[in-house]
């Protein structure tokens, strides 16, 4: 099975700082890591390769330093990678991002399965996975928590829902986005890390991917970030005084009255 895993380089959430004036993320000097949800995608791909064999390619879009996460992916046991990097890609929203990623998937000769994390911890949109499937005309299942069955032409997966899970059969080629329950990411391997030391990720820009400048980056985006701000603490506040038990009861009564909590019959 040929598997492409999409990875995104994000600021390490442990060291994120906001610029107090512009309220934008400070990216300079902040450690960058593989989006934690993408590590679950990587783990899903590694598990699948153990089960059915095949090849895993890691795909990312970002500035030149994003090559670092492809090297990291090699350390986890990925076979090869591709970095989509071009000044023209800068400022892409999810629409323009999927345009570049779709071209990257085609550049790699397509795949039987594309695996993405459910969302990135910086943008939190959860749109790129499903959007990429749409771009490529592939069937997709989001929020996959387990792969029950893996055959050459289909997967049977469990899709996480709020109230349980669905069992879905997905014809291949197709795309899944995965959630934490798919399995705890394994540590990198020594052999992988030794390979990673010498690994140079291939890089493709807009021209190599056959993309025009108005299809990608800021110009290819439908949305633009006009302003970023930290919302102030708003809303009415009310203290409910009294001993804990009585106060707790009062809180519950209010929540029920406001239909925040629905009591069963």
């Amino acid at each position: 099975m040929k598997i492409i895993v999409c990875l995104k380089q994000v600021p390490d959430t442990a060291s994120v700082k906001l610029d107090p004036v512009t309220h934008t993320l400070k990216r300079e000097g902040v450690a960058a890591v593989i989006n934690p949800f993408d590590l679950f995608a990587l783990e899903a791909a590694l598990q699948l390769r153990e089960r059915v064999g095949g090849q895993i390619l890691a795909l990312t879009m970002g500035p030149p330093q994003a090559a670092e996460i492809l090297r990291e992916a090699i350390g986890y046991g990925v076979d090869d990678g591709l970095l989509l990097s071009d000044r023209a890609f800068a400022g892409a929203d999810t629409w323009a991002t999927t345009a570049a990623l779709a071209a990257g998937v085609r550049h790699l000769g397509g795949a039987d399965l594309i695996v993405c994390g459910k969302q990135a911890v910086d943008g939190d949109t959860a749109q790129v996975g499903p959007g990429l499937a749409m771009r490529l005309g592939l069937p997709q299942v989001a929020f996959v928590k387990a792969i029950r069955e893996a055959a050459a032409d289909h997967l049977v997966v469990e899709r996480q829902m709020d109230d349980g899970y669905d069992v879905v059969s997905l014809p291949l080629p197709g795309l899944i986005t995965v959630v934490r329950e798919i399995g705890e990411p394994r540590p990198p391997s020594l052999k992988g890390k030794m390979r990673a030391k010498k690994y140079e990720a291939p890089v493709a820009g807009a021209a190599a991917l056959g993309l025009g400048e108005d299809q990608v980056g800021l110009r290819g985006s439908f949305t633009q970030v006009v302003e970023v701000f930290a919302p102030g603490a708003a809303g009415r506040r009310e203290m409910i005084p009294g001993p804990a038990e009585a106060a707790g009861r009062a809180v519950i009564d209010r929540l029920v009255a406001d239909k925040v909590i629905l009591l069963g019959s």
Partner: protein, 385 residues
């Protein structure tokens, strides 16, 4: 301190530290409490290629030496000696094959051990043969194309969990120590079974069990080296493995020092952090100095072993003796620094103290290490007289 480790050695250290922090630390108390074998952690170590660390490259390993092993074991031990014992015992079982196996034996067993598909174990000790290894009773007799083994082994690490066992048995009682031989026994061999799993003071995540051989039949090609080489196999194996026990000691002592120093900085009495009291600071200073001395000894001896030196028995015994005595002292003092907190299971230092004790006992008690060092001194200073 900088020990001028190579890029690959630093990579091994960092990876093992990552696994220790992310995977071992969160579960060590639970494994200890429930005396549960760390199967999922062994899988993680296997996925990280760590079981191949000292296996030659042509058999699927990474071809590392004693120092690489020590670096890995130290980091794992910093989090949990029960886990590191399980890991290191697989190498103890593999060394006889690495050192004395023929081409077929190496090709058959080493790749399975290197991949972590199966754990290995080493079986010498018996109920009446501990330090006096020459007193072993387990016998192997040749019958046609087979050996038939009878007897039992005691306190075998990875017993019941390993798939491959290096077993020492007597083939010719009349020859004394030269009458022992080493064999490879597989899980599932007819007549081979595992007895009771021991309940222990420490390293409770590791499995320690009795092995029972009742007319156990194995093909004759499972003999390692030649008949009569059994004790040579065992002693050469220990020469290689003992610095690894020293590394376990350095790891657990460092782990205890980490806990004690961090606690002493935050714990306040008489309105001051207790680390500002000389009585506590001096304890920590002695602990840190001894841990560093032990580490320096282990790394030096490991490098000496990796240089291909022949006479390594004395150095190897020293690299086991000193750090393990230090580990007992440092972990005990860590409990003292934490005081009442240290005695409670809420903090990891009481476990470290319980775990450290075995290091002075297994793979040759520290009294036996002193015998080895003493005998070598007697030889050295007797030369030319």
């Amino acid at each position: 301190m900088d020990y001028f480790l190579s890029e690959d050695q630093l990579m091994i250290r960092d990876l093992c530290r990552q696994i220790a922090e992310e995977r071992i630390k969160p579960v060590r108390a639970e494994l200890d409490e429930q005396e549960r074998f760390p199967r999922e952690l062994m899988k993680a170590l296997a996925q990280a290629d760590l079981f191949g660390l000292i296996i030659p490259e042509q058999y699927g390993g990474l071809g590392g030496g004693c120092l690489e092993n020590c670096i890995a074991v130290e980091e794992l031990s910093r989090a949990c000696v029960g886990v590191s014992t399980t890991f290191a015992a697989s190498f103890l079982g593999a060394y006889p094959i690495i050192l004395f196996g023929n081409e077929e034996q190496k090709a058959k067993y080493l790749p399975i051990i290197a991949s972590g598909e199966q754990l290995a174990a080493f079986a010498l000790t018996e109920s009446a043969a501990g330090s006096d290894a020459g007193a072993i009773q387990t016998q192997a007799r040749r019958e046609g194309d087979e050996y038939v083994i009878n007897g039992s082994k005691q306190w075998i690490t990875n017993g019941g969990e390993a798939g491959i066992y290096s077993v020492i048995a007597i083939t010719d009682r009349s020859k004394g120590a030269r009458g022992a031989s080493a064999f490879i026994v597989e899980e599932g061999d007819p007549g081979f079974s595992v007895g009771k799993k021991e309940i222990k003071l420490g390293i409770r995540a590791s499995a320690t069990a009795e092995l029972i051989f009742n007319e156990c039949r194995i093909p004759a090609d499972r003999l390692l080296a030649k008949e009569g080489m059994g004790f040579v196999v065992a002693m050469r194996t220990f020469d290689k493995s003992r610095p690894g026990v020293g590394a376990q000691a350095v790891g657990v002592a460092q782990g205890a020092l980490d806990e004690a120093a961090a606690f002493a900085r935050t714990r306040k009495q008489f309105d001051k952090p207790i680390i500002t009291f000389q009585a506590v600071a001096h304890m920590l200073a002695d602990m840190a100095t001894k841990v560093e001395a032990a580490r320096a000894l282990v790394y030096s001896v490991a490098r000496f072993v990796d240089s291909g030196a022949k006479d390594i028995s004395k150095a190897s015994a020293m690299a086991k003796l000193f750090p393990t005595d230090i580990a007992m002292e440092v972990t005990t003092n860590a409990v003292q620094v934490l005081g009442g907190h240290g005695y409670m299971r809420d903090y990891p230092v009481e476990k470290m103290m319980r775990d450290a004790k075995i290091l002075q006992i297994y793979e040759g008690t520290n009294q036996i290490q002193r015998n080895v060092i003493g005998q070598e001194l007697n030889k050295e200073y007797g030369r030319g007289k």
